[in-house]
Assembly symmetry: C2
Homo-oligomer: 342 residues x 2
Amino acid sequence: MNLSGTTVALDGLGVENGFDVLEAGIRLAATSEGIGLRVFGPASELDLADLNRVEVIDSTDQITNEDDPVPSVRSRPDASIVRAVADVAAGNSDAVVSLGSTGATMAASTFGLKRSRGVKRPALAAQVPLPGRTVVFLDVGANVDVRAQHLVQFAWLGAAFAKSVLGVERPEVGLLSVGEEAGKGREEVVEAHAALTGADEFEFVGNVEGRDLPAGVADVIVTDGFTGNVVLKALEGTVKTVVGAISEAARKNPVSAVGGLMMKPALGGLRRDLHPDTTGGAILLGLRKTAVVGHGSSGAEGVANAIRVAARAAAVDAPGLTEEMLHRVGANRGSIGSEPGV
Amino acid sequence: MNLSGTTVALDGLGVENGFDVLEAGIRLAATSEGIGLRVFGPASELDLADLNRVEVIDSTDQITNEDDPVPSVRSRPDASIVRAVADVAAGNSDAVVSLGSTGATMAASTFGLKRSRGVKRPALAAQVPLPGRTVVFLDVGANVDVRAQHLVQFAWLGAAFAKSVLGVERPEVGLLSVGEEAGKGREEVVEAHAALTGADEFEFVGNVEGRDLPAGVADVIVTDGFTGNVVLKALEGTVKTVVGAISEAARKNPVSAVGGLMMKPALGGLRRDLHPDTTGGAILLGLRKTAVVGHGSSGAEGVANAIRVAARAAAVDAPGLTEEMLHRVGANRGSIGSEPGV
């Protein structure tokens, strides 16, 4: 995919590993794919004048994880994330990327980029890298309470993303619940199951259970933002605990210590495979433009990957394709966005 | 702890690995601790006549995972799980253990053993074995929808179990949510957080996130039965995926293949440490007697551990201590079971 026609607005504040890492990430994305960048960060810290199509717009006001997102976004027009979003809204950039506060990025993007026509609730989608395939998992934190129709929309948002950006022709979509049977789970899950059955632009594989997520049984797995957030973090934490316990076991036992040393390259590969940085972070779906939130702890590769995902989504016009798909489905099936009482 | 005065009613149907494994598990528990057993299973398959205080009561009607639990339990008084529960209710046994359908065990126990005074909703608690400590995680499937007061009760139920059965003097209790701040999460979680703050018989450590569960940051972690079920299964699945990916990586790479071979004992130990069988399955808390559901896939050690947990809970009268604690708290704080509208 040629990304040299795209421009990404980058919030240049919030990378935990410092401006050197940020700069290295920007260089990677700009030189390997020719992505244009408008960086809203401190001009004194970022020396990027040698790069084509990379501009630094001096910004020093950072909304951090300690700030309350909504009031901060509303009251601080000079904050780097607010300016980066405004740059997209003004048409100077095609997508926004932040490595800073997820809450601030969600709030700024939802206000500044607007929801796509027909979308009730934008959702935050993580790309979970698993041996075998990458699973689009949503919602991982935008909506802690949902109704059935929101879950149904998340399925369409996730499927449209898998199709347009990841190139999965006919995505398999699963609904997270406490059992495989259609009647298992909360009321809204049971309702969503019924509404998704027979969907014709993706393959609805029915309910999937917690164990099916790490097994990678579907391209898209749908849940509410409370469950999704907790499960995603538990998954990341478990990988860390298991890899840590293996290293510990290897260190303690002289025989397996040698084995552990020899395993190191394989373990490193696995850690990289399962590390969220590999896929460039989470994407806010359901807005008219693309917004991506990378991990604050990203290295240069993580920063570059977050920029690449955003550029790719912009290049294929993922928001436009998603809106079209939702519209087509809403017209054909009447099951989305048309329930009473909302 | 001397368990030779306890008698456990064992549902003898539902062990996936066959009656030989069940028998071996029974022998382990009976001979190592002298636990008495009344086994409701097929007399033709179980040869236990040589054991003291172990009796087989011929039962062949099994409620399986395919059966709808509530109607099955109500209509099949001869089912092994229904008879085992009735045996406890009649005072012949002190606790019930099943390796079969979790749903059937929950239904039979709730009907047959009755809730403890003041308990609104019994909860299913898993003991999650982690490097460092065992975490009591509840609810993992009994209640897919909860109110704040149910979460508060789960905290007390879990703390009472950790105290009386696991011997943790002052259990640390965490509330699972999407952020550490008191205001983060669903409405019922925010309310429960407020109600738990200042609890004086355990240490309320506040909200914990998904990543904190595998890290083992508390002795008891509380959530609703939907989230808990999904997270527990995701955790088990992730361990399996990671261990599988390590074996795969080791096989593919000739250098790390040797390393992998040398790591094998360490990996085996880890798999055992993190395997749910290690702790003997899940416990239904909030009933007047103890009910334990072991994994259907248990080996002999898993069967024995499920029996041991039940015997231990009965020996210390965990249900009685729990009821006492709830009563004391309800009287002192007025925050449990006294909210309006329930």
